[in-house]
Amino acid sequence: MQNVLLKALSRALVVLGLCGSVAHAQDRVKELAEYQGADRQVRLIEAAKKENGITVYHAYPALSNVMTAFTKKYGIKTRAWRAGSEAVLQRLITEARGNRFEVDIVQNNAPENEAAHREKLLQAVRSPLFADLIPQAVPAHGEWTGITLDVWIAAYNTSRVSEEELPKRYEDLQDPKWKGRLGIEANNHGWFGTLMAELGEERGREIFKNIVATNGISARKGHSLLTTMVASGEVPLALTVYNWNPEQMKSKGAPIKGLALKPVIAQPSTVALLKNAPNPASAILFYDFIISEEGQRILQDFSYVTTHKRLPHPLRDASLKYIDPAKAIDMQTAWLSNFDEMIVKKAK
């Protein structure tokens, strides 16, 4: 019995100690992240010297190149863990609940990082570089920052669809000539929900109901698969690929081209600092680097639409519509079932 009590006591002490050190570490992260003095950069570089590189959880492949450039510039090592957007969020939440704090920076889609914000896992950063970014990249709470825009566009196989028959608007897809030629990504409920709101709920539903009834839309799992299927001719016209998908394929010589049907919809991909980051100074340096013109240019070279004002992109024009990440979470169930009922279950 005595043993048990002793064990319980020592356990409690450990837990208390852990809480104390966690709180202390959080203060340091917050202090560094919110500091706006003129010597910000110098302080960060100085503090980073005592840290041990950074750990980044990310969903984007091209982030590796930014990390390489960052290491080259600052001599700070990076450790990367990559998974799908949902798995990244899942791991963040589960590790935080298990009191394991190893990650410094997370890069993920805006709704997933908005979820991490709701889980109180993130720390707002006050970076002088925010002024260079488009307003949609910096939310009021400041806990994540948009680094690029995932823009959904259509893509078509140039040997199976001629320039003349290309649709100008979504309405044109109701033409029976598209029978058996359309494809869509099976998880794009956020895009669909936003599109319906933009087209006008009733009109939008009417159009897509007609398209599905007359021509059928085949649903494919994953944007990469869908793009591969367009390039191979299996899906002559796909409605939702990311703008860089056809670019990459085209550069290898595939018969594929992107096509922007208005309204074009985008969702920011974001970077965030963890509240319990073990290496906050190095992490903030990385944060700044990825939204700086230098870091943004690397992403642009990989055909991404960046959020930097000085790096314009034809898709980032005034008519571009943005998914609201908070709304995407609140509307998730409704959008999901709507998209499933109207498109995925009727796929053929």
């Binding site: 799908g84 494919r220 990469s224 299996e234």
Partner: protein, 564 residues
């Protein structure tokens, strides 16, 4: 007294290990299924809503119907293919059969995504090579095969998993005393009669075990339904599980409550199997009487079976392999033509050669696969001994506990292990060890079926005579049982080794920077749309496996390891 101690210790340790590995995620699954999603705003609380949502709708019935149809079709087809090949390979004098052993297990090594996509490229109504070829020959636009259908799904999944049945039935046929078949032959039975009345009846437990495990695995499978079913609006139960987990807050509870149906189905199957194996030594063919493996002389029929092998080889191995090879030599996939021939390049292979983390990932995967296959097979050999050779009350429950991890959705299993080791910090989190734990848990059920099938064929009299001659339990187990188990042990080892290399759904949550495995590299290539590079990797996988298996066979013959 000492031998009793070894026995108690080994059995005790194995029981504890199985209980620990299997009950922990099982508990997590049950516990979660009664909870609402946990988030910072709303802590999780007790609820029955998950079950209400999961089973309160016609929709679920519909999904379940699709799942059952898909799984039974797949099990029957995979068994028919794998079983027939195993019979021809082990029990007949079909020419060139040595070569066919290696070829028969090749589909297993091809990553699921690649295997399915090769079949899209072969069997799609629009760009499928088979359709294009036939349409060209007969100058028609009739669609001959359509891979986007329930039959297409069954075909692809069944072919992909036929090696599982092949390996299991190979083990069963190897331990079968041919004198029984010979006596039947002497008594004037035809090959046909011998097959149905002797061979099939004696291997019935193995048949049941193969079908059961194929069925449950197919119900749990995700890739084929996602790639071939979703495009035409055919969804299965795993689609619902996937969707539940991939939300915020993650509906792990809902996914778990879907999972409980799979648990019940498996439990029913294991119970039925235990009834079958409870019938004593009826199926024991390995007795004190020595036997030499002798095969059935098929006469002229052996050319037919060789032709069947060739057909299988062309359809299942060569066609997808050629599609992968073709695609790996391109810069992007395009239908083979003279034009495309001009674009042939080795860029994909160069890319893999220069890839920074492939070497390390391959090494990690090999270590994990070797360790998990060895641990699983040794651990389950003891458990199977308890289940089959003792009269311990409730032993079928033990079998069941060891078999249930089969049906945990991979991601839920990964999450369970993750949560557990974050809170019970013994230093395995973030290392290869945690992945080893998951792999052993996940593939233990396969070990159970492979070992169980072979264990059943070993007659109790062998154990008894060992004991009569004064051997301790440990000596008996090590010197008598394990060598006799070799067919099942080896088949199971090969199977677990290969599927460990492919495991993704739990690995993706649990790997850490520096601990990448090859399945993660495959996933990354796929996510990045590097289909061509992925094909090149697939081609290299196949060639490596082929060389390894042939080498193993060669060494085996060269150094006189007797094949039973």
């Amino acid at each position: 007294m000492r031998h009793l101690n070894t026995q108690t210790m080994v059995i005790g340790a194995c029981l504890l290990a199985v209980a620990y590995l299997a009950l922990m995620p099982l508990g997590f699954l049950f516990w979660q299924s009664f909870l609402t999603p946990d988030s910072a705003d709303a802590a999780s609380r007790f609820t029955l809503d998950n079950y209400a949502t999961a089973y309160g709708s016609i929709e679920t019935l519909h999904l379940m119907g699709n799942s059952l149809l898909f799984a039974s079709g797949t099990a029957a087809f995979a068994f028919a293919v794998g079983g027939a090949l195993a019979w021809m390979n082990e029990r007949t004098n079909t020419p060139f059969k040595r070569l066919f052993f290696a070829l028969s297990i090749i589909p297993l090594i091809i990553p699921g995504i690649m295997f399915t996509i090769s079949w899209i490229l072969l069997g799609s109504p629009k760009i499928g090579l088979i359709n294009m070829l036939l349409q060209n020959w007969f100058s028609t636009d009739h669609v001959f095969v359509n891979v986007y259908s329930m039959w297409g799904m069954i075909w692809v999944e069944g072919l992909h998993y036929s090696p599982m049945a092949f390996l299991m039935m190979t083990a069963a046929f190897r331990s079968m005393d041919p004198s029984l078949e010979e006596s039947a032959l002497m008594s004037g039975a035809s090959v046909h009669q011998i097959f149905w009345r002797v061979t099939v009846k004696l291997t019935w437990p193995a048949i049941f075990a193969s079908m059961l495990i194929l069925f449950v695995r197919a119900i749990e499978s995700f890739e084929v339904p996602a790639l071939l079913g979703i495009p035409v609006g055919t969804q299965v139960l795993t689609s619902a599980i996937y969707q539940a987990v991939h939300q915020y807050p993650s509906q792990v509870g809902l996914a778990s409550s879907y999972g409980t149906t799979l648990l019940l189905i498996t439990t029913a199957g294991i119970y039925m199997q235990s009834r079958l194996t409870g019938k004593g030594s009826k199926y024991a063919t390995v007795t004190g009487k020595g036997f030499r493996p002798r095969v059935v002389d098929l006469g002229a029929w052996r050319y037919i079976t060789a032709a069947v092998f060739m057909l299988y080889f062309v359809m299942i191995v060569l066609l997808p392999f050629l599609v992968l090879l073709w695609s790996s030599l391109q810069r992007y996939y395009s239908v083979p033509s003279m034009d495309a021939l001009r674009n042939v390049s080795l860029d994909a292979y160069r890319f893999l050669w220069d890839h920074p983390s492939i070497g390390n990932s391959v090494l990690n995967s090999l270590i994990l696969a070797f360790a998990s296959a060895t641990i699983v097979m040794l651990l389950t050999s003891v458990i199977c001994w308890i289940v089959i050779k003792t009269k311990l009350p409730g032993r079928w429950l033990l079998d069941n506990i060891a078999s249930l991890p089969l049906v945990f959705p991979g991601l839920v299993l990964g999450l369970a292990v993750m949560v557990f080791y974050l809170n019970f910090n013994i230093g395995v989190y973030g290392t290869l060890w945690i992945m080893l734990i998951v792999y052993v848990t996940r593939f233990m059920p396969y070990g159970m079926r492979y070992n169980g099938t072979s264990m059943l064929q070993i007659h109790k009299e062998l154990e008894e005579s060992a004991q009569m001659s004064g051997a301790s339990w440990g000596t008996m187990f090590w010197r008598i049982l394990l060598p006799l188990l070799k067919p099942g042990l080896l088949s199971g080892w090969i199977y677990v080794f290969i599927v460990s290399i492919r495991e993704l759904s739990a690995s993706i949550l649990l790997y850490s920077p520096g601990n990448e495995v090859i399945a993660i590299v495959i996933w990354e290539l796929w996510e990045n749309g590097q289909f061509v590079e992925l094909s090149a990797l697939g081609v290299m996988f196949i060639l490596t496996l082929l060389i390894l298996v042939m080498l193993a066979q060669y060494v085996g013959r060269r150094f006189g390891v007797k094949e039973i």
